[in-house]
Amino acid sequence: MKAGLYSLTGCAGDLLRIVNIEDKLLEIFDKVEIMDFALASSRKVHGKVDVAFVEGSVTTQKDLEYIKKIRENSNVLVAIGDCAIWGGVQASLTGIDLKELMKSVYNTEENYYGFLGEHKAISEVVKVDYELPGCPIEAEEFIELLIDVLRGVLPEFKDYPVCVECKIREVPCLIIERGEACLGPVTVGGCKARCPYNNAPCIGCRGPIKDEANVAGELSMLLEKGWKREDVVNRLKLFAARYKDVSKLIKG
């Protein structure tokens, strides 16, 4: 199987998570022919790939052209990580004027960098065949996906929240017990409740459960616990500003 691993705008964390599977890395790359993986290799083989794994948001004109080329060149396109699926933390700026953004960080109103004006998810610009959530992705889920792809199938999407995994690991509920602004109820499970297990509230890095996450319910529950609307909306939009129900909340 021929594979390409590509990066758009982001921190490179999803591809690095793959490189960080130290104990299985050699085995993985024994089964897959890597055509393009600029983060780790200078070798680039031209030709169509069976599967493209793409991380990062579509942020610049270059990203846009690149992802279109990748789409044309691949049979299966998998978006990996929150940037690729929801636009990443940078997408929480959706709605803010380009000039204001440039001014705030680069002290100029010029669009020096071919910025598209917003940070888009890959599925907003090309067809995506599968999405593997996480910030970063989970090694185990990546390996499962790869095994399926090698067999010519794609796994089912997970449609249960992080809360289910808290129950399995017997983690006391951070919302009920401590009144924390935990986003577990609206966030796709699969991380084994990493953060609540470590006494930290879920920040929603795996993104919302598509078409099912009840963000309005999450908001009203946390308002009842005494949280300010502004702070809850800020948290909800960090990894999911482009999810329709969250963008409704942002607009008020």
């Binding site: 910025f115 930290a200 920040i203």
Partner: protein
């Protein structure tokens, strides 16, 4: 007759981030040099505005997947200064351990997977397995050791979740720490092998030129945190003066701003740290340095790789020592300091694997971020990289060298730039 000749040679790879090197040559002279960073702008400092201090470490981690840890530690240290909070010895030691772990995994990644293929003549580390299987496996083992420490300490090897202003949400158990200690001890062989490898290579001297260094003053022993910055001209400044030290300007060809000190580009990173703090190294790293010091050339950034290797040996030994001290004293759970929001400003500097990293926050009455300013090592190094590209290109041309791309790529990679994501292009434009 003038002809413009544009040569696109190859993708500059095995560097984290999107960047180009452009060299414009006219009549065998270097007319212009640009280290272009075309990484999409993410405006992370703007993402932070309006958010509570508590959320900051989770967000700044996302700046970089190779060094989320120094970003988190820098953030919590700056926020604690702004809020007037001080943490106890245990939390400080755990933060040092977190930084050491990141140095180990980051340097191992750079030395074994990104830089070594250059010196052994391969496109990547995986292709080296047949002939250099032992090296690749030991490099991966070393990298894994750093990542395992991060996983236990922060909940994840990339973008950990336990790091908060006031302390860690979860403190490792003694048995977890004992396990980490044994993993680290086993990885020592890989660190030593890196020194053997990178001290055996010949570093070409076409890059040599005078240099200015900066590093955090760690105090008594070699380390990665402190309240002052050391400069190779003898200067020592409080971190609060970071703006004067970095003098950032926005340049159109790069989403990383460019820095200068007294009008000159400067270098941060392992070479700067080892040369400015060499008497503070201890143990095996100190012994190795004694023998290898002549090879660490302040005027040759390529020797940064060797400095990284020596520093990795130190980091592994020191991490084991930190764990021993923590176990000796006995670990306390629930030491997270309760933090009260208030208005304030705080600046911190920590050493990320690639050099000095500054975080500055202005918080409002409710502890929300009013303003954030983050200066990364690669942004500081960008102007220095351009300077050395120019010097090197001129020398190579005068030596009659036709193909500049390989050597220039080697040079850029030696800085271990962390631009954020792959795919790069070296473009040499020749005008005859």
């Amino acid at each position: 007759m003038e002809t413009a000749n544009e040569v696109i040679v190859e993708h500059v790879t095995r560097v984290e981030g999107h960047g180009n090197i452009k060299v414009l040559i006219e009549d065998k002279r270097v007319k212009e040099v640009k280290f272009e960073i075309y990484e999409g702008p993410r405006f992370i400092e703007k993402v932070l505005v309006g958010r509570t201090y508590y959320e900051v470490p989770d967000i700044v981690a996302r700046i970089c997947s190779i060094c989320p840890d120094p970003h988190q530690v820098a953030a919590v240290e700056a926020i604690e200064k702004a809020l007037g909070v001080s943490v106890d010895w245990q939390t400080k030691m755990l933060r040092e351990l977190q930084l050491l772990a990141d140095v180990i995994s980051s340097h191992a990644l750079h030395l074994y997977l990104l830089a070594l293929p250059d010196y052994l003549g391969y496109p990547d580390a995986l292709s080296m397995v047949d002939k250099y299987g032992r090296e690749v496996k030991m490099g991966l083992e070393l990298k894994r050791a750093g990542n395992v420490v991060k996983e236990v300490l922060t909940g994840r090897s990339i973008h950990g979740c336990t790091v908060k202003p006031g302390g860690y949400t979860r403190v490792p158990t003694p048995s977890e720490l004992e396990k980490l200690s044994s993993t680290l001890r086993q990885s020592m062989e890989g660190a030593i092998l890196a020194v053997e490898l990178f001290s055996s290579f010949k570093y070409p001297d076409f890059v040599r030129d005078e240099n200015v260094f900066m590093a955090v003053d760690p105090g008594g022993i070699y380390g990665f945190m402190g309240n002052h910055i050391l400069v190779s001209d003898g200067g020592r400044y409080p971190v609060e003066e970071y703006k004067k030290l970095t003098n950032e300007v926005t340049v159109p060809h790069s989403t990383a701003k460019h820095s200068s000190y007294k009008g000159r580009p400067f270098m941060v990173g392992a070479l700067a740290r080892v040369l400015l703090n060499k008497r503070k190294l201890k143990g095996r790293a100190a012994e190795m340095l004694k023998e290898l010091e002549p090879k660490l050339d302040a005027f040759n950034p390529l020797t940064n790789n060797l400095a990284q290797a020596i520093e990795t040996v130190y980091a592994v030994e020191r991490a084991v020592e930190v764990i021993d001290e923590l176990l000796d004293k006995g670990l306390k759970q629930d030491v997270e300091v309760k933090v009260k929001p208030r208005r304030g400003v705080g600046v911190s500097a920590v050493e990320a694997p690639r050099g000095v990293l500054y975080h500055c926050y202005e918080l409002d009455d409710e502890g929300r971020v009013a303003k954030a300013d983050i200066i990364t090592p690669t942004a500081q190094n960008a102007a220095n990289i351009e300077k050395y590209i120019k010097v090197s290109a001129e020398r190579l041309l005068s030596m009659g060298e036709e193909r500049l791309e390989g050597p220039l790529e080697l040079l850029v990679r030696a800085y271990d730039p962390c631009i954020s994501c792959s795919a790069h292009l070296i473009k040499v434009i020749k005008i005859r």
